[in-house]
């Protein structure tokens, strides 16, 4: 057991965790943040993606104890409040980029990390970033279009 200090969605927290607990299990089971999905638990599907230091990471391959001292952004931290959506969430809604919703948390966070680094990515760049997240409903086209829509909205907002 180890003591870890994390900042999760802007809130500081101190916990005692087992050595083998992954960040994904920690967020879901210890913090109740079940928006982080667990799919394959071997780094392939991307459903457990969270953002650490502006980078999308696989929470299933990241030990909670390794994340000690880091700021973590999860899907629960994306919307500004309980009634409004963030721009990327709104683009997914407008573009019908959600089917069963299981991959959506990871898709949104990967897309957010991309748009934060590159507000106006071209389609190739979007595909290059998003191909690490699997959608078993195969709704890829709408997902790519939703990220493009969010990028276009960025472009009109920042002339």
């Amino acid at each position: 057991m180890k003591v870890i200090n994390l900042v999760i969605n802007g809130k500081s927290t101190t916990s005692i965790v087992g050595d083998r607990m992954t960040l994904a299990d920690y967020l879901r089971d210890e913090q109740g943040l079940t928006g982080t999905r667990l799919g394959c638990e071997q780094g392939v599907c991307g459903a457990c993606t969270v953002i650490v230091r502006k980078r999308p990471v696989r929470a299933c391959l990241y030990l909670a104890v390794q994340a000690d001292g880091q700021e973590i952004e999860t899907i629960e931290g994306l919307a500004p409040n309980a009634t409004e959506l963030s721009p990327i969430q709104d683009a997914f809604r407008q573009g019908h980029a959600v089917q069963c919703g299981f991959c959506t948390s990871g898709m949104l966070l990967t897309a957010k990390a991309l748009l934060d680094e590159n507000p106006n990515p071209d389609e190739d760049t979007i595909r290059d970033w998003m191909h690490g997240n699997i959608c078993r409903c195969v709704g890829y086209q709408q997902i790519i279009e939703a990220v493009q829509l969010a990028a276009e909205q960025n472009a009109t907002e920042t002339p």
Partner: protein, 265 residues
């Protein structure tokens, strides 16, 4: 699957890390964990002790000496991909990194981890061989083509850590990368990394062609294909058959060399 029990520790120095590794035969150095953690989850590897080396200063940093680029073993691929220094002096490495898995893997995966894992189908060991990298460990210096000895096997001893890579600048020579893959997130099927040298020859290293990268030094595409065909020791895995690899490997070797030559002439 959930991870089997192990102990995690985060030493403050390379010496302490080596002492911990030496004390337990079922210990592993842990940096990004992008290959090790899945293997533990899938019960392909059993770990009693994970020694986190990702925060050791001796394994971090990217610098240029005037003739070679030094890259810390635990520097995430994310940072290497975005390094202007690497883009300028080792454009082949920047290109190879951009083909590894996905952004969400490269955010934590490290070059040291990829070298230490030494997967037979990985593009990075072959790229290091093509670039004539020197691997600096906690005890010695090893040329990349001597470092990789088999699938998942390197010249490293259990209590030896890769600290950094020293790679001669290859900014003037042209390069090429051929990758055959079924999906992006898993390992490639096969490929070739090629770079032109000051001597006018081309160093081409093949991956997915044998248990370890095959290095061919030539200036003739047909010769590259012939050597590739002769030296290939292809294998079956879930992505391709050995028959397919035997046929595609000479083609990739020839193309890589031809592409380097084409831009040079």
């Amino acid at each position: 699957m959930k991870l089997s029990p192990f102990t995690y520790c985060r030493p403050d120095s390379v010496a302490e890390a080596i002492e911990l590794l030496a004390g337990d035969p079922a210990s592993y150095p842990l940096a990004g964990g992008q290959s090790l953690m899945p293997a533990i989850a899938l019960k392909e590897r059993r770990a009693d002790l994970l020694v986190d080396i990702s925060r050791l200063d001796d394994l971090r940093g990217i610098s240029f000496s005037g003739t070679s680029v030094t890259i810390g073993a635990a520097e995430p691929m994310w940072d290497l991909e975005r390094s202007e220094l690497i883009r300028t002096h080792l454009p082949l490495l920047t290109r190879a990194l951009s083909t590894v898995a996905a952004a969400g893997i490269r955010s934590r995966a490290t070059l040291g981890g990829s070298a230490g894992w030494a997967d037979r189908t990985s593009q990075l060991p072959a790229t290091l061989v093509a670039l004539d990298a020197t691997i600096v460990s906690s005890t010695r210096r090893i040329k990349a083509h001597e470092f990789f000895v088999g699938h998942g096997q390197t010249a490293l001893n259990h209590d030896e850590l890769v600290l950094r890579f020293e790679i001669p600048s290859a900014s003037l020579g042209h390069h090429d990368l051929q990758v055959v893959r079924r999906t992006y997130i898993t390992w490639p099927v096969a490929g070739a990394a090629a770079v032109g040298t000051d001597a006018g020859t081309i160093r081409v290293a093949l991956f997915g062609a044998a248990p370890a990268p095959i290095l061919i030094v030539t200036s003739d595409p047909a010769d590259a294909a012939e050597q590739a065909s002769d030296r290939a020791a292809p294998f079956d895995d879930e992505h391709a058959t050995s028959t397919y690899r035997q046929r595609v490997i000479p083609v990739l070797a020839r193309r890589a060399v031809a592409n380097v030559l084409r831009v040079e002439t």
